[in-house]
């Protein structure tokens, strides 16, 4: 898809510094290492694992009287907090997904206009994917409101998901990254997204939320197309760079 990576003066490996690398390696032999073994690092982590508090809690259902009671009734014998936590996570992920696709679309537009690509990514499809992320975000707002839960609250799993995806966003918004580098990141985004929707459908079915489950299946069907297309474009772009396809 894009021009091949150039071969240049990369300085990061030891072969780039033939004199200093020999001195560094001989120095390691001349001086004794720090005493102890690898168990000490584990001991610190183990102790912290044992006493760590959790990131936070799942928000209570809304302020309307009887809301909590109604919700508990709906989920008799089950833990509604887990479902709410996961709905909140998906909502945040889809919302950030809109911004990620917006950044990717812009990058593709600029690359196309500069004639840097060997073939143009189908921008109209990316625009559709972006709109579908937004549609899924909206669906999750509606589901949370239906359960009486505040969709603006950040649930613990939404918080963790935000930490995990922060690097992905960083790759896409960096003007220096190539489209194929971005597509590799998008593949990770969509793989995670697909697996998460599958689990959400399962959870909704387990909790007797058939109507929600079928709406989630529609979302998953769209996400599956995102995944398949992104994977194909990514493979195509890398192979084009390697000169193995035309």
């Amino acid at each position: 898809m894009e021009k091949s990576e150039t071969i240049g003066s990369n300085r990061t490996g030891i072969d780039a510094s033939p004199i200093h690398s020999k001195k560094m390696q001989s120095g390691v032999q001349d001086y004794a290492p720090s005493s102890g073994d690898g168990n000490q690092i584990e001991a610190i982590r183990r102790e912290q694992l044992e006493r760590a508090e959790r990131l936070g809690s799942v928000p209570l259902p809304g302020t309307a009287k009887g809301m909590l009671k109604t919700m508990l009734k709906k989920f008799t014998g089950h833990q509604p907090a887990t479902f709410v936590n996961k709905l909140g996570e998906r909502l945040a992920y889809e919302r950030t997904g809109v911004r990620i696709y917006e950044a990717l679309i812009l990058k593709c537009q600029v690359a196309n206009s500069q004639g840097e690509t060997r073939f143009d990514l189908p921008l109209d499809q990316l625009v559709t994917f972006c709109a579908e992320e937004g549609k899924h975000f909206r669906l999750l707002i509606d589901c949370m409101e239906q359960l009486g839960v505040d969709p603006t609250a950040q649930t613990p799993d939404a918080d963790v998901s935000g930490v995990a995806s922060s690097g992905m966003l960083k790759v896409i918004t960096d003007p220096r990254t190539t489209i194929s580098q971005c597509l590799e990141t998008m593949l990770a985004v969509e793989l995670t997204d697909n697996a998460a929707w599958e689990l959400l459908i399962q959870l909704a079915q387990d909790l007797g939320q058939g109507e929600m489950a079928s709406k989630f299946e529609e979302a998953l069907a769209e996400e599956q197309i995102h995944l398949d297309e992104i994977r194909a474009w990514y493979e195509q772009s890398v192979r084009a760079q390697a000169g193995t396809t035309h």
């Binding site: 975000f137 909206r138 509606d142 969709p151 603006t152 613990p156 935000g162 960096d174």
Partner: protein
């Protein structure tokens, strides 16, 4: 609870000890703790950081004080560590930025209302409206770059609406200087207020300078560069309200009193018992420092600390939503500008500032770009863009 400064000798310095384990203790919860707990954590990090910075400078200029400075400074450094490590790793840099601006707004508003000097109260209100605008710009960035809602951090205590436009805050350096209080006639609370706010702004400048380059989005990189520049202006402003004729030891004593006062304020309002215990412990540490510096003051200057310090700490800083005060200030003073050390109407702004601004904004304004037509709504602006499914 009243804290008497001269009766209470606090924790002796030799008993002020730490371990690595407690320095890197359990963080607060981003989701469950009250936003003001985070506000206090961030402010106290800034207060400790500024105490450390002052003590290093003081050491470079005062050979005889080097040893006591080194001993107290080591403890201050570890106090800062324990406080700053209370921020959990799930705070993304942009979320922490929102929290820093909340500190600037809420604490400056509280201080502006307790400041007895009318001119200095005006100085605080002037700076307040600028940090208020930064909050709006950063919230727009968070929404439009990450698809996240700044109110998850603010917890509805602080408004997200425009203040004095950031693009109009860029001034020529001489117009950021202010008249200083008179060390002989100013009330103690005036001196403590000045140190508190300068410390908060200084750490904000440093935070933006450290984290700005870690963003990859070009708008974010430019916006951090722009707002860091205003924070530098604010440090100039708040640094200049402090009387330059105070002696080094007088300043050191005031810094220790300011730290004690701020820990006292935190302690009085903190609902989280684990964090409250830290504020209580560190109030006692600061009283220990204050007592030591008081003895140095007597020895080297032949003066009594009571000449410059009150018998008891003033009423604590109020940690509560300042929405109404901020809105009133916004409605009445958004068009204020400066000419030298004086506040003037928009049309009377110094030409040097207009020239400086005209050039620095001449290739575009990131703060205008990021927030163009931005109106915060719960759950981000995307909630409004995507209509209900059925």
């Amino acid at each position: 609870m009243t804290i008497k400064l001269f009766d209470n000798k606090g924790t002796p310095l030799e008993k002020q000890k730490f371990t690595w384990r407690e320095l890197a203790g359990q963080p607060i919860s981003k989701l469950d703790d009250d936003a003001y707990t985070r506000v206090r954590v961030i402010l106290m990090n800034g207060v400790e950081q500024q105490a450390n910075r002052f003590q290093h400078l003081c050491s470079q200029c005062n050979g005889t004080l080097r040893e006591p400075l080194a001993r107290i400074r080591r403890v201050e450094h570890h106090q800062q560590t324990m406080v700053n490590w209370l921020l959990g790793a799930d705070h993304a840099p942009l979320e922490t930025t929102i929290a820093y601006e909340q500190v600037a707004i809420e604490v400056t508003a509280a201080v502006a209302q307790q400041e007895p000097d009318a001119y200095l109260a005006q100085v605080y209100r002037f700076g307040l409206l600028e940090d208020f605008d930064h909050m709006y710009r950063f919230s727009a960035l968070m929404d439009r770059m990450e698809g996240r809602d700044a109110n998850n951090i603010l917890q509805c205590y602080t408004d997200i609406i425009p203040g004095r436009p950031t693009s109009e805050e860029h001034r020529a350096p001489e117009n950021d200087l202010r008249d200083h209080y008179d060390r002989k006639s100013a009330l103690p609370i005036t001196k403590l207020n000045a140190l508190t706010i300068m410390s908060g702004e200084y750490q904000t400048r440093d935070y933006y300078m450290n984290f700005g380059p870690t963003f990859s989005d070009p708008v974010a990189r430019q916006l951090y560069a722009e707002i860091a520049s205003i924070e530098e202006q604010h440090v100039t402003q708040y640094g200049s309200i402090i009387d330059p004729d105070e002696t080094w030891l007088e300043k050191w004593l005031l810094y220790e009193a300011s730290e004690a006062y701020n820990y006292y304020s935190c302690m009085e309002s903190e609902p989280n018992p684990r964090i409250k215990a830290i504020w209580e412990r560190f109030l006692d540490y600061e009283l220990g420092h204050l007592h030591m510096v008081g003895e140095l003051f007597k020895r080297y200057e032949g003066r009594e600390p009571a000449e410059i310090l009150p018998d008891a700490l003033p009423d604590p800083i109020a940690y509560q939503s300042q929405r109404e005060f901020v809105r009133n200030t916004l409605n009445q003073e958004v068009d204020l500008r400066t000419d030298g050390t004086q506040f003037v109407a928009k049309d009377d702004e110094s030409q040097q500032s207009l020239d400086y601004r005209s050039h620095i904004n001449s290739e575009g304004s990131p703060s205008e770009a990021v927030a163009a037509d931005y109106q915060w709504q719960p759950g981000t602006e995307l909630k409004g863009r995507f209509a209900r499914a059925s």
